[in-house]
């Protein structure tokens, strides 16, 4: 086989990022502590260059590389671009946070870069093995990152929990995949889809559903859907906020891609079967996420439950099972990742040396201390609650209309009922910021880079909410 047929060029962004990750790893060893900023700058440049590489080579149709292991299609391009942009934001927000805690180390950037490569591979997987490798690359880096601040007991506990449950989920996934391989004789999604289509005899069909159950459970674990959500609150709360923001944002996009590749492209023939499972997961996630979030006093923990409820909404798009449904789920996932990024950004903005700013009461009277960032947080919270004219409203509208379109209006009614419950705890944050008296008068200080990025992040939620057509059109074009 010649090198040409491998189509290496298609994977150029991933290869580039991988090389840069190794480079940062090597260079960082020789850097004195006061020049650590170089690793940070190099990381950010790599992300920007990788983004440019992706955006500058748009693809119209699906293109395969590495003997059909690797796929590049419009969806992959769009998701990878957002993964890179969001990661860029995370690094900007976390720089001062890490400095304050003496964990501004090269390892953070190296592990993060590897996890980003993992996400990109998941997005581009055309083969179960590829998908699994990408997932493990991502997960292993995240386990290490959670425990990154090694003197912190909570973080170590969170890492342990995350690792054990994550490994369990990976095991489930592997088990499901191996059954599927046994039944279809292939690891390629397209060939699995053919096998599913041809599985006329009942015994084989039951085997497929058996495999499907394991796969759905594993995906639910990774996404944090109820009843497989137990790790989410503890990991969100225990991790350093910089790492929480990495766990809570970009991997959701990779998770979306994982469902698309595995369930829709591979097991699309079993749609009526997984649809029922997802309905249960979605309703439970929206219910538990929204109701339990009300009781939280820790903002990171509250956001964890909020994630769970948002996952329920994302699943609604898949439940619809139409092209509109998938594009609405993608729209929702991107929207959610941007909102979560901004929220964690605010937490890192408020955090100081020896002060995590992760209690809701720490935000008392933020409007007195910093009207501008209180306003940004206001936008983010209203967006999470789905109040127009913010982007979060359109995301909810998109998934709800996808569900109504397939004559499941009852599901839309259930979803809006839970979103009313959800409204309460987002409003509470605004209440604390605007209506409560200020307890800590110290002004909020941060670098210009963070101010600009965080403002842009928040205002983008508002601006895209006023004019959502472009982002919506992007998500629809991907599935056209």
């Amino acid at each position: 086989m010649s090198l040409d047929s491998l189509n290496v060029a298609l994977a150029l962004p991933e290869i580039f990022l991988l090389v840069m990750a190794c480079l940062v790893l090597v260079i960082d060893v020789y850097l004195p502590a006061e020049k650590r900023n170089f690793s940070y700058v190099l990381t950010q440049i790599s992300l920007i260059v990788a983004l440019v590489l992706i955006v500058s080579s748009p693809v119209e149709t699906r293109q395969l590389a590495f003997n059909d292991l690797f796929i590049r299609d419009p969806m992959a391009n769009a998701l990878k671009s957002f993964i890179l942009m969001i990661s860029f934001g995370i690094f900007v927000y976390s720089r001062e946070y890490l400095l304050d805690r003496n964990i501004f180390k090269g390892e953070f950037y190296v592990l993060s870069l590897f996890s980003i490569v993992g996400m990109m591979l998941m997005v581009s997987a055309n083969n179960m093995l590829m998908l699994y490798l990408g997932l493990e690359l991502l997960s292993l880096c995240l386990y290490a990152l959670v425990a990154f601040n090694r003197d912190d007991g909570n973080a170590s506990e969170a890492a342990m929990k995350y690792f054990v449950l994550g490994a369990l989920a990976s095991g489930m996934l592997l088990y499901g995949m191996s059954i599927l391989y046994g039944l279809s004789g292939s690891l390629q999604f397209s060939e699995i889809a053919t096998a599913v289509g041809n599985s006329s005899d009942t015994a084989q069909h039951i085997g497929m559903i058996f495999a499907l159950v394991f796969i759905v459970v594993a995906l639910a674990f990774k996404l944090g859907a109820v009843p497989f959500h137990m790790w989410v609150p503890d990991v969100y709360q225990g991790s350093p906020t910089a790492v929480t923001s990495l766990i809570g944002t970009a991997p959701k996009l990779a998770g979306f891609a994982m469902i698309m590749r595995l369930m829709v492209e591979g097991l699309g023939g079993l749609q009526t079967d997984w649809q029922q499972m997802l309905i249960v997961l979605a309703i439970l996630s929206m219910a538990v996420g929204n109701i339990v979030a009300i009781a939280q006093t820790n903002l990171k923990r509250m956001l964890a439950y909020s994630t769970i409820s948002h996952v329920g909404f994302i699943l609604l798009g898949f439940i619809a099972g139409t092209a509109e449904g998938y594009s609405s789920a993608m729209f929702y996932t991107i929207t959610y990742a941007l909102m979560a990024l901004g929220s964690f950004g605010i937490i890192m903005l408020m955090a100081k040396k020896g002060f995590e700013a992760d209690n809701i009461s720490d935000y008392s009277g933020l409007n007195q201390r910093s009207p501008w960032f209180a306003f940004i947080m206001l936008i983010l919270m209203f967006s999470m609650a789905g109040v127009p004219p913010t982007l979060g409203f359109w995301a909810k509208l998109a998934v709800l209309s996808a569900v109504v379109d397939v004559n499941m209006t009852w599901l839309a009614v259930v979803a809006v009922a839970f979103s009313i419950i959800g409204l309460f705890y987002y409003l509470r944050i605004i209440k604390v910021m605007y209506f409560d008296e200020v307890t800590d008068e110290t002004p909020i200080e941060c670098g210009r880079d963070m101010q600009i990025t965080l403002s842009a992040n928040g205002l983008a939620i508002l601006a895209l909410g006023v004019y959502p057509a472009s982002l919506m059109a992007l998500c629809i074009a991907v599935f056209a």
Binding site: N367, P371, F382, V387, P388, P389, F393, W394, L397, A398, L400, S401, V404, D405, T409, A412, V413, V416, A417, S419, I420, L423, F424, L427, I430, K431, Y434, F435, Y467, P468, A469, M472, A473, I476
Partner: protein, 510 residues
Amino acid sequence: MFADLPLLSLLVWLPILGGMAVLLSGDKGDSTGVRVLALVISVATFVLSLGLFTGFDSSISAMQFEEMAAWIPAFNINYHLGVDGFSMPLIILTAFTSILVIIAGWDVIQKKPAQYMASFLIMEGLMIGVFAALDAMFFYVFWEAMLVPMFILIGVWGGVRRVYATLKFFIYTFIGSVFMLVALIYMYYQGGSFEILDMQHMPLSMQEQTFIFFAFLMAFAVKVPMWPVHTWLPDAHVEAPTGGSVILAAIMLKIGAYGFIRFSMPIAPDAAQHFDWLIILMSLIAVVYIGFVALIQKDMKKLVAYSSIAHMGFVTLGLFLVFQISSNPAKIGGHGAALAVEGAMIQMISHGFISGAMFLMIGVLYDRMHTREIMAYGGVVHKMPIFTGFAVFFSMANAGLPGTSGFVGEFMVIIAAFHANFWYAFLAAMTLILGAAYTLWMVKRVFYGQVANDSVRALTDINARELSIMAMLAVAVLVLGLWPAPVIDIMHATVENFLQHISVTKLSLN
């Protein structure tokens, strides 16, 4: 005068962008600048809104000043604005009232004046957007978005229990409206369009209409508010700053009634006809029962809040009487129905002026005495004669004295109610007694008698700023009361068209 301008877009965006500018100018240093800027923007908006009045053709029922552009092609959502005889007077009312609240907060608000003024301006633009939007999703965006500034206003500048009141306000309204959202999405998939006018002409089965009607009812009944979902209103009013109460009573409540006119009745006419007894019942309970509740209030703001609920009962009563009048050909038929709807509209506008005036009046007293308890007052007339003159006038208007605008709307609705059913009219007319009782009793206790205590003795009469607000409102109440014909003329063609539309069943379209 403004014929070649995109007038409605200007009316929506000028206050919103102006409010943003006020917000960005910040609360540092001297705040006179932001106050003047806010006033200039609100006056400019009002002047522009008069262009709607001068350029309006009252002989046709079609939408006027239409503007349309694609907004979100993926969902066929358009940036579609336009006004007819229902929405145009309400837009002018909104612009007018916004000037008053800016002036009313001039000296009183010392805490973050820029944010305060900006909230009102942004809310003004959003409320005008609600009245002008002709695309259902566009409408919904404004409808929900306008809750945000009000939430902040009550929560930041409100009274002691402001957090409770504002959360209750927001969540109540949100609960109502999300079900409307599902109904709108449902109709989009049935008819392929979010255009309100398309929805009005779309065929729907009785079952669909019933679901849609109740989904809308949840949204609009909370907003009006109708008994038994009115409980957020007294709390919100009592805790809101004066300006917030004025906007809430004068404009926001009207948006609920406007929703019935624009959505519920034309989109689901058969369901509306089938369930009109329910709305009439709820309205009459509001008029009679809430009237009694108002009688026993000790807090002036709460009293006026309950009186607002009773007066809004007239609006919903007038709107939903039409089915019974039309189906009763022995009476004067269509003319009576028009009387009912026009009476409801006049009542809406009049209540905008009067309730605004009542809350401003209480605000004047509160700014001086920092209490709203009726018991804390007495003999105010001896210290504030000019103010008392206005207060008595507005109270009379609130009680429905002939010659004031309060009389016209109520009288029209009561006359129309006679065409439907004697007992409706009888119960509705109770308001003339109850309204007079609770309003005048309050006036007697607050303004007359001996000077009650030293704080009353220290009162000073209203200054020029307060006088200007009172005078503007008094003129409005008198003009509308003595000569309502121009306003009725504006909406007459629209009302006829509306009645024609809702009298045709949608069931035969299938």
